[in-house]
């Protein structure tokens, strides 16, 4: 697991997660228990650390995971501290260069975001999957064409923008309804 975590996660995400469970979960659980976490806390934090790792690999294809256990232990420690409200914020270059950085919105999406996300999930599963593939999993349009069975990249591109428009209209409608209900 020393090279190209980006490609390995792209090819078989679930298998990589299973390997990381075997190699790193006991060490992370031990560390978190030492910080006062219970079994359920360790389970949630470890899953969140895997998400942080996944998102980092999507943003930075050159990211190397040379020491997965050490990486996941440190990210888990920070996630636990953030959940407890005792994380020390980094500033300036330290924050930019920090390979263990956790996205600012990780535990704090505003309530209205969570509500809108739930609504988007009901707006149309296929559309949302295409949009997640492009904007979250960072698949290329070629990959989307293959995985979703489109006849060409152009068809996939048009479909992606149709979906974006559909979601935009749906979110707009729901936001208006919510605003009216609040009046």
């Amino acid at each position: 697991m020393t090279t190209s975590i980006y490609h390995r996660l792209q090819e078989n995400r679930e298998q990589v997660f299973r390997e990381l469970y075997r190699s790193s979960y006991p060490a992370v659980a031990k560390k978190l228990k030492g910080l006062g976490a219970r079994r359920e806390d360790a389970r949630d934090i470890f899953q969140d650390a895997l998400i942080v790792l996944y998102e980092k690999s999507r943003r930075d294809a050159s990211f190397r995971l040379d020491h997965p256990r050490a990486y996941l232990c440190e990210v888990s420690r920070r996630l636990w501290l953030r959940k407890q409200g005792s994380e020390l914020p980094l500033t300036g270059d330290d924050a930019n260069d920090d390979q263990f950085a956790i996205p600012a919105d990780f535990y704090a999406p505003p309530k209205s975001d969570r509500r809108l996300v739930r609504l988007l999930e009901r707006a149309g599963q296929k559309c949302l999957e295409i949009l997640q593939a492009f904007y979250y999993h960072e698949w290329s349009l070629g990959e989307i064409t293959r995985q979703f069975g489109y006849s060409s990249v152009r068809s996939a591109t048009v479909q992606k923008y149709k979906c974006l428009e559909k979601v935009r209209a749906y979110a707009h409608q729901k936001t208006e309804e919510h605003a009216k209900a609040m009046e």
Partner: protein, 89 residues
Amino acid sequence: MPKLWSNARRIDRYLRDQLPAPQRRFFEYRLGQDSFLRKQVKTQRRLHQLIRLSGRRSLKRDLRRVHHDMMYCPEESQLQRRIEQVFGG
């Protein structure tokens, strides 16, 4: 491609930092002049954010399933024993 999608595509490329420098400068100039375009960019940025949040939620659901398999599947008994050693019975 219809104009609506073509515009959405340009905004997409701007938000994902994929416009070449001259096009980016021109786009930012237009942003300064056109309040409707500014509103479109703001909406699209928010949509990207919501889609990413929903992607994260979906990945979390997958990981809960993986966790369940790893903690209950007989083939993973070694891992299960190690976790038991940490938290006890």
